[in-house]
């Protein structure tokens, strides 16, 4: 890169250092805006992905409610239990469950009972309302991971979610009175469920999980379930979903169940986050366009100021391509230096934004978070070259005689 044109370009930038620095500043801001937004978006996706990955590969079957299923769990009859009134028709029967089990085999199908209930933790504590799940004890280890204690085998035991345990100072061995004034009995906490975050099947972080038998006895629920969760270990969730829908919803006008594929939902969520990231990055891109206009303006000024010089060059034997190269080098120097500085500063900006908005910076130095930085740098360089191209082309195509006469 030791051609005379490279040398002239470098020296011209040095000669007009303030002007060149301001142009670089525009590019720096553009790259920081794009890359920092990209880092934030990417970190957001990673964080959500971390939270939701544990609920992947599930198919959730709920009674059809007319407007599509509710993947976050069906509503129920309130604190007093839910087997009466119109909600009775919003349950899956044991026959339905057995049918789902057969369709999903060899994958495990887990019947889920759910309600909201009053309860008290410890003597003299306030009455609270929390979600209760009833699950077959043999299926719990396949669905939930414990952070403390053990799975309850007896009917008087229960598991509690990590947030619920933290909020109410519950440890393994603590006792919880169920119902208003403990009318439905007392349960002993045998284990704390590891945090699951947002989930599509059972959201246990703020809930109590009891055995299916205890739930059915206490709430007089026989052979009817709020949902069935199929943990797909073999095959594709989409295939399981289709198979269940084909069996239950043969007539599209008389659907009996809503089937939700957790992977499909995850894909939708990722797509939504991706769209948001693209949108905010595009907003950052506007600043890059402004920077590009500034580069264009500066390059046009540079050409105008050096018309005579171009005329001399052409007259003593510089080809058009040589003149063009000289101006493109100038744009490239501004672009590369500005973009690299912008790339470095975008890491600082990305760190600050992640710390402030996501409360964590652990996703900053990951491959997917670094991609926006590389993209920002490349985009900055491309914008500079693109904006320098027309002025360079114009300079190269000046009439040498007119250029020589220029004062």
């Amino acid at each position: 890169m030791s051609t005379i044109f490279w040398e002239i370009s470098k020296r011209n930038i040095r000669l007009h250092l303030l002007r060149s620095s301001l142009a670089m500043l525009g590019i720096v801001i553009g790259v920081v805006a794009i890359a920092a937004m990209g880092i934030l978006g990417s970190s957001m996706v990673l964080m959500v992905s971390d939270t939701l990955s544990s609920v992947g590969d599930s198919v959730i079957v709920t009674p059809y409610s007319g407007g599509g299923g509710n993947p976050m769990g069906p509503s129920d009859g309130g604190p007093s239990g839910g087997s009466s009134g119109t909600m009775t028709s919003m349950k899956l029967t044991d026959q339905d469950f057995q049918k789902i089990k057969r369709i999903a085999a060899p994958n495990v199908a887990i019947p889920v009972l759910q309600t909201a209930e009053h309860m008290r933790v410890g003597v003299g504590s306030e009455d609270i309302v929390a979600t209760m799940y009833g699950l077959p004890p043999e299926d719990v280890p396949g669905l939930l991971i414990l952070s403390a204690g053990g799975y309850n085998s007896g009917e008087s035991g229960c598991l509690v979610g990590s947030t619920f345990a933290d909020d109410h100072n519950i440890n393994v061995g603590s006792r919880i009175s169920i119902g208003i004034n403990g009318e439905k009995g007392t349960l002993r906490v045998t284990g704390i469920i590891e945090e699951r975050g947002m989930s599509f099947d059972v959201s246990t972080d703020n809930a109590v999980v009891v055995t299916k038998d205890w739930f059915e006895t206490t709430y007089d629920r026989n052979d009817e379930y709020d949902q069935v969760v199929v943990k797909v270990k073999s095959g594709d969730t989409a295939d399981v979903k289709t198979a269940i829908e084909n069996q239950f919803n043969r007539n599209p006008r008389q659907k009996t169940v809503s089937v939700t594929d957790s992977n499909e939902l995850l894909a939708t969520i990722y797509e939504t986050f991706g769209t948001i990231t693209t949108f905010v990055t595009a907003i950052g891109g506007i600043s890059m366009i402004v920077a590009g206009v500034s580069i264009f303006n500066i390059m046009m000024m540079s050409v105008t100021e050096r018309i005579k010089e171009i005329g001399i060059m052409r007259s003593i034997g510089t080809r058009k391509y040589g003149v063009m190269r000289m101006f493109l080098y100038e744009a490239a120097i501004i672009g590369v230096v500005g973009s690299v500085i912008g790339g470095v500063l975008s890491l600082v900006a990305g760190y600050a934004m992640s710390a402030f908005m996501l409360q964590t910076t652990k996703y900053l130095f990951t491959v997917s978070s670094m991609i926006p930085v590389v993209e920002g740098i490349l985009f900055g360089i491309v914008v500079c070259l693109a904006c320098g191209f027309y002025p360079a082309w114009q300079a190269a195509n000046l009439n040498p005689i007119d250029a020589l006469r220029h004062e």
Partner: protein, 223 residues
């Protein structure tokens, strides 16, 4: 022997809104190797047009121009550019050095165009000595030189590629008479060593140094 420059019935017309202007009207002449020619004439006579055509910066409306036997009309822009670089040396009234480059870089510029990279300054030093420029000025930029010194650098740049022709446009027009004389003496010396030199001027003092004078009036050769 083949002429260095041959003009054959050359006409140059500039189309303007107010009407066409004929700058050169059916001009024919030849320049032999080793000649030292002054082209003289009043303002607007067509001197600059003639210089531009000889320097391959412009093309004729009709007629043919041959440089070293090659017909200019048949050449592409790149070929004409290379011809200017390799066979023609330009010396301008206002020196036209590159202010961002020092003396040696300015002189080496045509060589660097040819090689595409940095070249050995040996030849530049040789030419600079030939034009009698003080050595302590070699690393200075053109802005740090006097008019006479700048013109010597410009002559050195024009000579660096051993051109067939030196085309000079009022080379002393921006110099005091003493410096102008020394520059013309330098050109005389170069001509004695074999350089073909064509000087566009309206200064009779400059014409006195040349061996032949072409007078142009109203786009025609008067004598």
């Amino acid at each position: 022997m083949q002429p260095v420059i041959q003009f054959s019935d050359v006409t140059k017309i500039y189309p303007l809104r107010a009407g066409d202007v004929t700058a050169l009207d059916h001009i024919s002449f030849e320049v032999e190797r080793g000649e030292f020619i002054a082209v003289m004439g009043p303002s607007g006579s067509g001197k600059s047009t003639l210089l531009n055509l000889m320097g391959c910066l412009d093309t004729p409306t009709s007629g043919d121009i041959f440089i070293g036997g090659s017909r200019v009309r048949d050449m592409s822009d790149d070929q004409l550019t290379d011809l200017r670089r390799d066979r023609i040396g330009f010396i301008f009234q206002y020196f036209n050095l590159f202010p961002l480059l020092n003396v040696i870089e300015n002189v080496n510029f045509p060589l660097m165009l040819k090689s595409g990279t940095v070249v050995d300054p040996k030849k530049a030093l040789e030419v600079l000595r030939a034009v009698q420029l003080e050595e302590e000025l070699y690393t200075h930029t053109s802005l740090e030189l006097s008019g006479g010194q700048q013109q010597r650098v410009a002559i050195a740049r024009a000579l660096i590629n051993n051109p067939d022709i030196l085309l000079c446009d009022e080379p002393t027009g921006n110099l005091d008479s003493r410096t102008g004389k020394s520059i013309m003496q330098l050109m005389t010396d170069l001509n004695k060593k074999g350089s073909t030199i064509i000087v566009i001027t309206h200064d009779p003092m400059v014409a006195e140094y040349t061996k032949r004078t072409i007078r142009i009036e109203d786009g025609r050769i008067a004598s």
